[in-house]
Subunit: 225 residues, 4 copies
């Protein structure tokens, strides 16, 4: 899928040092995809705060009514932040720009761009069952795009042993997170709070410092030591 | 048009490696135009999602009423994404900053900035005839600015044989896309869905993997093999 | 004003090639100020399009009522674009980050951030006298911040003969533009269209290709030839 | 906390010149964190201007009613700008990306993203007591995240004597600013203007040129001379 038109002039030789051959004969330019992705993610993560409308009437007790919107914002901020961090690490293994890399990345950004919508629905509807289910379903979409992106970079990016370990460990972590999100959907039929709990669990699992859980993932992949 | 004031100190000598001479005696700085364009395009592509207002009442059947807004968002997201990808490839052939390069690029960004407006009109009006026609007309504007931009880079950018092939093949593709958009306008008088179909066809044609169609474009230009 | 605390470790030695010493012992980092400015300007120039609210009722004649908002958008887009272009050129002469450089730049970005407000007022009020006067007054603010910024870069930036010519020619152009904006304010009391005309004249004067007018500015400064 | 999974390939060796090893074997990439932070801060600082809604009725006396919103915008713009400047200086001492660096930075961006909310509350409520207290409390949150970020960079970043002086002097300045913000909260019970005055004092103290106050901070830390 990432085959280029055969008249494409992009060389496969390694880029010169400095700006990774940004200028010149159409050299690989992974950096610009990163810059664009950073811009899109920065906007997605920030426009969610626009849903926090201050109450028109005074008094702190009115502010308190905003807690579902605020909680939805915190959850989604953590979610988008985790994706940015993983994107940042994954792209450090990318080597060349291909059609597949560009469109897998665009698909990921598209999926992430739906998060403000379902966050607004979740917060504005006060964690109703339908809102929670839509929210968890929206959380699943970026996972598929991310898997595609990782498959592309695994095939066309850095091919060292360290890269292989990285891809195996993070793929396992990603599958695990996806299963928890998916499990949250039926659990939301019992009570929406189980669905929200599933989303919070995944966020904690990625944000919290590396511990026994991470070592578990590393070991299962046959990481020596 | 891209002649600079004759007191301009920008050298024509190749930039030093590294940041392409970003610092120093007013060296060429194509990179900063890219960064700015990335920012503008990232905002354009993301603010369209703000039109997806979640319904105030609960229930999934209420969500379903959003489908025209969502479909308009998907179409426009693909449209802007395609322009970004093409811009990204085209600028890999740019070599020096000129007045014409800056203003052709500004014209392109201006034309693209109208897309959220006509997308909002299309989605909010449920694909009415007038909305579809305005949408397709807005899709035509960036094509003119892009042709200007490509003409500038063709004249002042990389002059290799590969660059020539790239410019010829993509220009043909661009003309083809423009004809389909323009054809969508009269077709919308029969039914708006023919207009929407034209827009979807162009999007598919750019996003889908390189196949026989691309080879056709390459061959017609005399590409050997 | 741009003196640094004397415990500041930033060296005055030239930065290493590549990213202009971005990493390391707190070296000068003009590039990051540019990136931040690009982001702010990209948002300012793009959020103005959010004022273009599509009409709720159908029919092209309803779209026509949007012309004042659209015209205000075009004028302000050109205005912000011109500032970005000038900022881009001016920063190619900057060499080191100082307190004055940072805060003059922040003042410029602040002044520019008011443009969407007065554009919205101008477009929404249909070019009423008060709206036109406020618009032109807002256009004057960035000029003062820009003069401060240019003064800082003139003193601390590249000191070549070409840089001197650049600063003299663009300062004259800036003073000329400022006079026309200021003249537009009393002219708006006759009819707002004279004020709008003044703003359009300045935009045309910066955007249009370099011609006799530019040569005039270059010559008056004693540019040889 | 910032320990990486032990299969992480990021080398501790200094990055090659140029883009600081951005490409390649997952080298350190502090630059991309800066780019992302710049994007988020640029959006935060700019969306606040969207609260400045032009009055629907004409006449300059109607504009005058906007002064609380405008004053709140100026204060918050200065506040965010100061954080950007400090972030910019602090990151010039960062050397390698760690989990702690990423998440301390994300926490800072999250805390800053709440500023538009409390600014909107402050301006829209006309500096009522509750709004002023919430505003000052929001101003305190980023200080904690920033302290965490600085602690991480102090431990893992550049270890020169100049870096040590920088960290000591700015930490003292930060503690001082935090105390004034915290003091503004009880003072707001007397009159909200004492709280606003506290916020303005801190802004002036960071923005104004380096003077006797800065020298005071430098000296107390045992800075020779």
């Amino acid at each position: 899928m990432e085959a280029m038109p055969r008249h494409d002039p992009r060389p496969t030789a390694p880029a010169p040092p400095g700006r990774s051959g940004r200028r010149g004969e159409g050299g690989p330019d992974v950096g610009r995809i990163e810059t664009f992705s950073d811009g899109v993610v920065a906007i997605i993560i920030t426009i969610m705060v626009l849903e926090l409308h201050p109450p028109l009437a005074g008094g702190f007790e009115r502010l308190w009514t905003l807690w579902p919107v605020f909680l939805a914002y915190v959850l989604s901020y953590a979610y988008i932040a985790i994706y940015w961090v993983n994107h940042h690490r994954l792209f450090s293994y990318a080597r060349r720009v291909s059609n597949a890399l560009i469109w897998a990345n665009m698909a990921l950004l598209f999926a992430l761009s739906l998060v403000p919508f379902s966050t607004s629905y979740l917060g504005g509807r006060g964690f109703f069952r339908e809102a929670t289910i839509l929210y968890l379903a929206t959380m699943l979409l970026p996972a598929f795009a991310y898997s595609w992106l990782q498959a592309v970079i695994r095939r066309t990016g850095v091919q060292s042993e360290a890269a292989g370990l990285y891809h195996r460990a993070t793929s396992r972590k990603g599958v695990f997170a996806t299963i928890i999100y998916a499990a949250g959907i039926p659990l939301s039929f019992i009570t929406p709070w189980l669905g929200i709990g599933a989303a919070a669990l995944v966020a904690a699992f990625w944000v919290l410092p590396v511990g026994p859980l991470d070592r578990l993932f590393a070991r299962r992949g046959g990481d020596p030591t």
